[in-house]
């Protein structure tokens, strides 16, 4: 198969255009975060003429940004760990045992995708209120774990399916119990699956906005998306300088970790969908 030179050039032109379109909007955040308000109005899309750090200074000293950053980090870390702890045994059971209700269980997991946010948030509001978990980080973590769990279980089941049962059977003859064989034999072979689940729950918990908006009630408890939305909404005019600085900083951790983990997430996502 050959491709004419003209077509090859066109191929590269279109791909580069796509890339510009997908990556360039980020540049506005970067540029604006180093401009003064007047600088942004004077030149809405250029590189800053003179670099200023007032925006960063403002969000660090005059806003709750640092607290909200800590909240987001804590929520993400806890959600990732809890998701793995809850999903691993369930994924293992789905992969290794044929039990009654197995299909029902799988269907329920998949069906949770379709539950409307508004109904869930009304119900969860009542649940969290009962246990005094409204406006708390544990409340948010429990919610996010329940959101990431169905997919995590499904993904890990896929990974466990690929590990030969014979390995475990050999160990069991030597007197190794189910739990030990899961921890000692299956898990070390499923590291890519665990990384995929970790990346997925990280994205979900770091980026989620709607539920955090309803559950978290004051500045000290906001996660970063809620902080950004509130910061934008406060006062009449949107102050793009500090907002861009905060938004950019809110992206950096998740972007770096996503780039490290995306390989596993993508293969986990597509593994189940393609076979």
């Amino acid at each position: 198969m050959r491709m004419s030179p003209v077509k090859q050039v066109l191929l590269h032109v279109f791909v580069v255009l796509f890339m510009l379109l997908l990556a360039f909007p980020m540049a506005f955040l970067l540029f604006n975060s180093f401009k003064t308000e007047q600088g942004i109005i004077a030149s809405p899309m250029g590189v800053p003429r003179e670099v200023t750090f007032v925006n960063y200074q403002e969000i660090f000293t005059e806003s709750t940004f640092i607290t909200n950053f800590k909240n987001s980090s804590l929520v993400a870390l806890a959600t990732v760990l809890l998701s793995i702890i809850v999903s691993t045994p369930a994924g293992y059971a789905l992969s290794r045992f044929r039990f009654r209700g197995r299909t029902m269980f799988s269907m329920w997991l998949l069906a949770t995708q379709s539950f409307p946010g508004i109904i869930m948030v009304l119900g969860l509001f009542t649940v969290l209120k009962t246990y005094h978990l409204l406006n708390t980080i544990p409340g948010l973590v429990i919610m996010y774990t329940s959101f990431s769990m169905p997919f995590s279980i499904w993904l890990l089941k896929g990974y466990f399916d690929k590990i030969p049962v014979a390995l475990e059977e050999a160990a069991r003859i030597d007197g190794c119990g189910r739990v030990r064989s899961l921890v000692k034999i299956v898990l070390p072979l499923s590291v890519p699956g665990l990384l995929a689940v970790g990346t997925f729950s990280l994205l979900l918990s770091w980026n989620e906005f709607f539920f955090a908006l309803v559950i978290m009630r004051d500045n000290a408890h906001y996660t970063l998306p809620v902080f950004l939305a509130r910061f934008m909404g406060s006062g009449g005019v949107v102050r793009w300088g500090p907002l861009s600085a905060a938004a950019l900083l809110a992206c950096i951790p998740v972007l770096i970790l996503f780039m490290l983990g995306q390989k596993y997430l993508v293969s986990g996502l597509t593994g189940g969908a393609i076979k």
Binding site: F18, Y92, A93, L109, I119, F209
Partner: protein
């Protein structure tokens, strides 16, 4: 007898492994779902300051409420065009990224993933800036000779489409990666053989490519439909449903009722309608995944 015993034994083995997930599933998924749905049978009377049982009144009110009908039709437009355009553009991009004539393939694929990782709130405020009246897009349009570039966020005919464009942008990486993975499973020799036999571009697509990636395409389309129908962040940040109610969608309208107008019952009724719409879609999703 024996097989029955065996099955029971497997259940006894499986149960302890399932306990944590079952607890989460019942306590933080099933119970809130039921609890949330039952809210639609109640309404809050502000004067009496109490919540009273009203049966299906909230559901009946839905279909007499012009704002609800507006939000419903907006949501349909929003979902169908977003998912459709995401798919078309991503299919195009994925085909190009899959071409063996493309250089720097890995680098391009890496860049294409970036929007996927960004918080939707950040994506929305970024695009709100781009669409601003004196913002980058209008600056470009102006320099291209357009004397009066449109008011993307405040023109009632455009506001919803501005949100849709943002949503399409945000969804491209996920859809592209999934399609790309599907395309990569296709044996290139078969495509080459078809070309040697004189198959046209359309014939190759219809007879080889589409059947090979049908499953992944159906999964993407159903998932994206569900996610887009439920999407709250973009409209909330970009237009808050405005100007007027030009870009109001169902999730936003439900949120406003439940948390701004103290009408949780009405919000839940809107939620039930969303659920009914999505159940139809999720059935197709489950069927494809379990197949």
């Amino acid at each position: 007898m024996r097989s029955n015993d065996g099955a029971l034994k497997e259940e006894r083995l499986a149960f302890p492994f399932l306990v944590p997930a079952l607890v989460v599933l019942c306590g933080i998924s099933l119970y809130p779902l039921i609890q949330g749905i039952t809210r639609m049978f109640y309404t809050y009377r502000a004067l009496a300051q109490q919540t009273v049982f009203v049966g299906f009144q909230n559901v009946e009110l839905l279909f007499q409420d012009p704002l609800f009908l507006r939000a419903f039709s907006n949501t349909l437009v929003w979902t169908i065009t977003s998912v459709g355009m995401q798919f078309v553009l991503s299919y195009w991009l994925a085909t190009m990224l899959n071409s063996r004539f493309l250089r720097f393939r890995r680098m391009f694929r890496g860049i294409a993933l970036v929007p996927w990782a960004l918080p939707p709130v950040v994506v929305s405020l970024m695009w709100r800036y781009i669409f601003l009246n004196g913002g980058p897009l209008n600056t470009i349009l102006h320099s291209l000779g357009m004397a009066h570039p449109p008011n993307w966020l405040t023109d009632p005919h455009l506001a919803l489409w501005t949100c849709i464009i943002t949503n399409i942008w945000m969804g491209i990486p996920f859809v592209t990666v999934m399609i790309l993975a599907g395309l990569q499973t296709i044996n290139k020799d078969i495509v080459d053989a078809a070309a040697i036999d004189g198959a046209s571009y359309i014939q190759t697509q219809v007879n080889i490519i589409v059947p090979s990636i049908k499953k992944v395409v159906l999964i993407i389309l159903t998932l994206e439909t569900i996610w887009t129908f439920n999407m709250f962040d973009i409209v909330f940040i970009l237009t808050k449903g405005g100007p007027g109610n030009a870009s109001l969608t169902l999730p936003l309208y439900a949120y406003e009722n439940a948390f701004m107008y103290y009408q949780a019952g009405y919000g839940a009724a809107i939620g039930l309608l969303i659920l009914l719409c999505l159940l139809v879609v999720v059935v197709f999703y489950i069927r494809e995944v379990l197949r």
